[in-house]
Symmetry: C2
Subunit: 624 residues, 2 copies
């Protein structure tokens, strides 16, 4: 069988002739972005043939042998009968599972103090009496006697298997861990000195984050974030759902996300010298599709009308069935979802806001990612909706778009006179592409300096070297081939700009519609909480300039980081927060925007910079 | 590496030089009886060297090379550097996992009729509404709505994984199976036509029995019995407990019993065309040690003072963790134990007796096996104890003893004049050994005809060719080498007779002690229920003649078959019986005979035929 070698990772695997290069890369564990899920439409999975030939498809669908030096789409190319090697361009290579710079930390602002913890599982130290002749008591009976009213009513087999040994060691001192159904999930020798741990996990479409927490006092021991490996099966939710329909597609997706989570767990336990067996509970937050994929539930009905998931409230499971590499009897709790597109990540995210703490002022919560989820409300009501922003803000659907990793342009300064720009990249390296916040920064600058009009068209008939006109399309060049990390220029076409405008219009029109639904004006919003990775690098003024965020005073905006992870932490450690989350999820009213007759009007009106109704953005100056 | 070949099975395996032949046989899957667990004490694991030499140990502990033709103990012999072959004598070879003749059926007298079933798991047929736009209901929500008050509160992951597909098939008609905690363990497409099954399982020290039952109407679909494969690790409970202390010993024992159970399940599902996935609950009865070994719980404390098991009441488990090859979410219920030596087999066995149905007459329940377990009581009280009868009745500890399989002498007629006997064997073949009921029959005949005295000594100074005197020991010959299935004679020595007398004394003294404890005379027993395989072939008159059973009218005895299996069936199918069993287990008072000062006196007095106190056996005539 022929072999295929992937550079720069330099990994070689043997595959049957005819194997799709994208599948071969997946099999080899080499990350290639394929936002469209390998359908040949996004053009992101380009590879350059380095040696040998591969069988590719030309425009028009004709097969051809692509020789050394040819750039082809991995998803549309197959291995021939002989060995070949391909190179993955730099902007597509994984940065070693690490996020660039400041992405690495998760928000740790909200913690629960030692005196106030009530973790998902209860840990009790007690002393078990020695066995006595003729008392007729089994080890279990004596353990239950020692615990009195707090005695367990059920037990895991693994805990029972070590019961005899444990109650006979350490002079009968034991630490028992029980879940909320009084099931003993673990027993350890020794008294209260034995530390036990829990995990808060956020499963995002793009990113997963795992937090290791000490159950005794709520201390955050460490946090690891990583890409959701499902990215190789499609960047957005719809591509993933499509991928799941393939043979073994659901299994692939499940394994990918579990790999990423378990790798984070392994890193955390190794770094902090914690035994995975001492991790006894997990609070997990993810959107409805991510939760379905993690559990191997078929996601296709989420996508198809009437958009019905298998379930909104996943019952508690144990880690063994869930597939997490910790104590197999650990209790796994899932944050409740409200609808197919408003999931547990949102009900978790809300927990860190004042909307659920009795405040009467009307506030807005926005989680901006591939999907935008919004919640509007106060102590009296909560209204929620979701909109499909598309992958533009995550770097998808934009020719030079990339995730917020090293080499991504994240901020731009445009000279009003020359139209040329100064780029700041993550990691201060040569630009390799542009990430979501970079796009917002660039477009806002171009609008402010008059190089981009309200309809999203670049100024033409100019000798500005940053603007290239090709037929009916114009391009804005951020870096030429010579200046960029790869050999090709980093540029944004008017089609890319249109995609970004669609994304921002989707978000803003959802905001406008929600406020209209309850009859308030946008300027009445007392606070806007922005969650999600994209929000972290977002410049509020730029976002208002483009009409992505409402034009209200900047001090009403608050960036709350990975709110979903924070909520997972809170529900891991606090019974009050768990009950609050269940209550709040029940009082949220879900509005299906796709069924709202006013949505398309709002959306069309928002397809300008900042908006067709300039009165909504009084602070945004018209370009000179 | 040298190879070792086992005959008559003709199985060859390769092992490292120095491998113990008994371990090699286990590894090869060849059954060799080793009642003592391979300690070199029972002498049952004899093999004859057929070619090559093996390294054995002579009397005095000196190693020697055993050449072709030598008979050695497998557990005390090792493979040398070269290939060898050994033959396992016929009486020790497995009869293909089958019991001889009438042993094959289990008692099916007690069944529960279609109108009265309330199985361990509840099955409901319902129709789930179609998903509708904007109703905000997940598949799970609609299922719960359809079931109303009977809605599940929890679900297995596997059931959730097929939920979307199932509620969309068959016009929404589904069959849902829930356990007693309202956990949905399975969902199937289609209405009430879908048949679901349960298993009743009895795990005996020697035998396991598995019954396949239709949950809808309680019909018994089939029963399979097989040897408990743990026999290769020791015939009695103490040997098994000792074996469990070896490295991986507990795992070996667990695998052995699971193999035997899963083989029975496989045969039943194949024979009756049932999918293992449609088996959704199990009611399991076994003695305390068997239950511990099945679950991988350490049994050693059962054996060591103060005889404390890990637990008496095993919480419900699922089949996946238990290791049964059926639907992994099937609910497995364990019959409660009362003490280390009165287990779930007894609390199950009682369910088929009048002792638990409100009868005021005092009755006795005896399960005679390697251990004897007794329960005495009526509607007011239940008193229980266990005694170690030893393996004699199962064929162990008796030189020509064997299990009740083909070739076992099961009944004997002795000519008073000549002292010679006529033997009836199971399967009507040449005698290979003698089983428990055969021993009782022979001794009773010898006592009646005066060839055996009350002290267990054979008549000497006679020219009876059936009696052979060798030094201080005498032997009774049932079949000469020429008449027997193997080349060696089938005979009983006075030491064997002593072992049988010890076994019967253990049982009778326990009966005497229990009756004395509550202050009644033995003749006041209104009924004696005999359970267990040994009881099936037992002649009551013979047993009274020997002083094994009390001397009361024969019509007060009742053989109730595999009562433990019957009880497992009843608790599988009836909520009333499950509650009854829990109540009865709680009201049983366990008496530890080893702590009772009167027990040794009773035991010594019972070491005669029938008893030192002849007044206890008025109907037994003195020999002429």
């Amino acid at each position: 069988m022929p072999s295929i070698q992937f550079f720069p990772a330099n990994i070689t695997i043997t595959c049957g002739p005819g194997t799709d290069l994208l599948d071969a890369a997946r099999k080899a564990g080499v990350a290639i972005d394929a936002p469209c899920g390998g359908n040949g439409t996004c053009g992101k999975c380009r590879v350059r043939v380095r040696s040998g030939t591969v069988k590719s498809i030309s425009v028009g669908g004709m097969p051809f042998d692509a020789p050394e030096g040819t750039v082809v789409l991995a998803c549309r190319s197959r291995l021939g009968d002989n060995d070949a090697a391909v190179e993955i361009p730099k902007q597509h290579t994984d940065t070693g599972g690490k996020f660039a710079g400041s992405c690495e930390q998760a928000d740790q602002a909200v913690t629960i103090g030692p005196g106030h913890v009530s973790p998902l599982v209860e840990t009790r130290a007690t002393r078990v009496a020695r066995p006595e002749k003729e008392d007729g008591l089994s080890d279990w009976d004596r353990l239950c006697n020692a615990l009195g009213d707090a005695a367990p009513e059920d037990a895991s087999l693994e805990a029972l298997q070590v019961l005899a040994r444990t109650v006979r060691g350490s002079d009968g001192n034991v630490t028992v861990t029980m879940d909320d159904r009084k099931r003993m999930i673990a027993i350890a020798s020794g008294g209260s000195g034995h530390t036990q741990y829990g995990l808060a996990i956020d499963i995002g479409t793009t990113t997963i984050a795992v937090m290791l927490v000490s159950l005794a006092d709520g201390e955050i021991i460490g946090v690891k974030t990583d890409y959701n490996e499902q990215i190789s099966c499609g960047l957005d939710i719809i591509s993933r759902i499509n991928y799941a329909r393939r043979e073994h597609g659901g299994d692939d997706l499940r394994n990918h996300v579990l790999n990423a989570i378990n790798r984070c767990i392994r890193q955390l336990t190794t770094d902090h010298g914690v035994s995975p067996d001492d991790i006894l509970c997990v609070s997990l937050a993810g959107n409805t599709t991510m939760t379905h994929l993690l559990l191997g539930l078929p996601p296709e009905h989420i996508r198809l009308s009437p958009y019905t998931p298998t379930l909104h409230r996943v019952p508690p499971m144990n880690a063994g069935e869930t597939g997490l590499d910790i104590n197999r009897n650990a209790l796994v709790r899932f944050a409740p979802a409200v609808g197919s597109y408003v999931g547990g990540d949102i009900t978790s995210g809300l927990l860190g806001t004042e909307m659920v703490s009795g405040d009467e002022q009307i506030q807005l919560f926005i989680d901006i990612g591939t999907n935008g989820e919004l919640v509007l409300g106060n102590s009296d009501f909560l209204m929620t909706c979701a909109c499909s922003a598309g992958p533009a803000f995550e770097g998808g659907g934009v020719s030079c778009g990339m995730r917020a990793a090293d080499g991504a342009v994240e901020a731009v300064k445009v000279d009003p006179a020359t139209g040329l720009c100064d780029c700041t990249t993550i990691g201060a390296v040569k630009p390799a592409g542009i990430c979501g916040s970079g796009m917002i920064s660039l477009l806002a600058e171009l609008v402010r300096t008059g190089w981009l009009d309200a309809g999203g068209k670049l100024r033409r008939n100019t000798d500005c070297s940053a603007i290239r006109v090709d037929g009916r399309k114009a391009y804005y060049i951020l870096a030429s081939g010579a200046q960029s990390a790869s050999d090709s220029a980093v540029e944004l076409s008017e089609i890319d700009i249109e995609n970004i405008m669609r994304a921002k219009a989707a978000i803003f029109s959802a905001i406008a519609l929600l406020t209209r639904h309850i009859g308030i004006d946008i300027e009445d919003l007392a606070r806007v909480c922005i969650a999600g990775g994209f929000g972290r690098f977002l410049d509020i003024t730029d976002a208002i300039t483009l009409g992505l965020l409402p034009d209200i005073p900047e001090d009403r905006f608050r960036y709350i980081g990975n709110a979903s992870l924070t909520g997972a932490y809170l529900t891991l450690m606090s019974q009050t927060k768990r009950e609050l989350q269940q209550r709040e999820a029940r009082r949220m009213t879900y509005i299906d925007l796709s069924n709202d007759p006013g949505y398309m009007d709002q959306y069309s009106a928002a397809l300008f910079l900042p908006h067709t109704d300039a009165g909504l953005f009084p602070s945004v100056k018209k370009p000179q």
